[in-house]
Symmetry: C2
Subunit: 223 residues, 2 copies
DNA sequence: CGTGTAGTTGAGATGCGTCAATAGTTGTGG
DNA sequence: CCACAACTATTGACGCATCTCAACTACACG
């Protein structure tokens, strides 16, 4: 049985280390593993909202397209993170593979067979939905009135904190993706990164690999 | 008992017309009614995340303050809407009364007394949390790369669709609030409204009352 | 009637977008 | 291994939308 205290525990960040896959749920709530090639669409804006997903490998972007070809990226989802929690019976965003990636999908329907559900599962997906809510709020804050430098600095700090390695950040996404995420143009992102490198705050071994050499300065800029 | 199908039903927008108050829950999950004067704080960023809320009368803003006095408004909450769903054990935003208003608070703890919960209640608050997620996503989209005119037009359309009257919109919030919500300055909001009035798309009987006289044009601008 | 707050309007400064050219990177095929 | 093409990223010049600073107006309230 699920009860509200478990949901609240999840909402409160008292995350239990559970994994929503067949192994750990004893076969009761299986997830279906799927692979997607770079730029493949996982689901589209308006598609039936039948599943939510967990990133196993690679990076996924959830985004919306506007008339005029403009695109706003809502979020990047890294390995271990969940996405696809949309209100309504249709997805309100599209999800695409930023690079080749593997995800596990969980059909909502799969949980309701006999009307009862392990409260650990319910708590877990609620936790992830709330996590996404928080990210969306932070993102809106960022897009509000931050300068280009602040946006890029905050983005780098965020990616560094979510990445597995501390040494450097390997950006799976193109400059264009970063720009659409930050509400900037590709050119401005590129210029800003160049400025940061010139100021010796970051180093760029390759175009998509970034090492933060002066974290304090970066944090100062992002605030 | 709560089960996932009910949660999913809520997530899918199959909203049941329930009210989370004492009357309709038979006293099992009471909400506490509270009044707040204009600009009073309902909870602060960092406060213990012990309750969520429903607006009964007035308008509530959830926002975040930045060093330098800058403020980003995350959302306005109108009568009937819920707010205060924050991930973590602390609120990540502040909530303030835009005007004198009345809210009902629901303590998370109040639901867990005997470990069981009416599934209608769980489904309902999950629905509202997802609703807030969607609003945050739309807001981020808006802040992304919309022009000032598009932002203001979209704001007016949104407020009109959420307001109870069709005749006109009574804005409870100051220009400054609108600006902080749209990521603009007060001056730009004011100028944009003046432009819309000059173009005969809106009329302003008083400064805070707006009548949309050419909805089609407004929608065209907002897209 | 005076004072304070909210809103409007104007003029100038500037940060970012746009357009355009250049450079670097990746992949393919000879 | 090199040559070429296609794509991705960087850099530059310029224009414009919005911010900033400032003056003025409207309105509410004592």
């Amino acid at each position: 049985m699920m009860n509200l205290s478990t949901v609240k525990a999840a909402a409160s960040g008292q995350r239990r280390s559970l994994a929503l896959d067949r192994r750990e749920t004893g076969g009761g709530a299986p997830g279906l593993a799927i692979r997607f090639a770079q730029d493949a669409q996982i689901y589209g804006d308006g598609d039936e909202n039948g599943s939510f997903y967990k990133v196993v490998a690679g990076v996924v972007r959830t985004c919306k397209f506007r008339i005029g070809g403009r695109r706003q990226i809502d979020a990047f989802h890294l390995p271990g993170e969940f996405f696809g929690f949309d209100a309504g019976d249709r997805h309100s965003l599209s999800a695409e593979a930023v690079c080749d990636c593997a995800v596990v999908s969980y059909r909502w329907r799969a949980f309701k067979s006999d009307g009862e559900i392990d409260d650990r599962l319910a708590a877990q997906f609620f936790f992830h939905a709330m996590q996404n809510l928080r990210r969306a709020q932070d993102h809106a804050l960022l897009l509000g009135h931050y300068s280009a430098a602040q946006k890029v600095a905050a983005f780098l700090i965020d990616m560094a904190s979510r990445a597995s390695f501390d040494e450097f950040i390997d950006l799976a996404m193109a400059r264009h993706d970063i720009a659409d995420y930050l509400g900037l143009t590709m050119e401005t992102v590129s210029r800003t990164l160049s400025n940061l490198e010139r100021a010796a705050i970051i180093a760029r071994p390759t175009t998509r690999r970034i090492r933060i050499t002066n974290e304090q300065a970066l944090r100062r800029i992002s605030s």
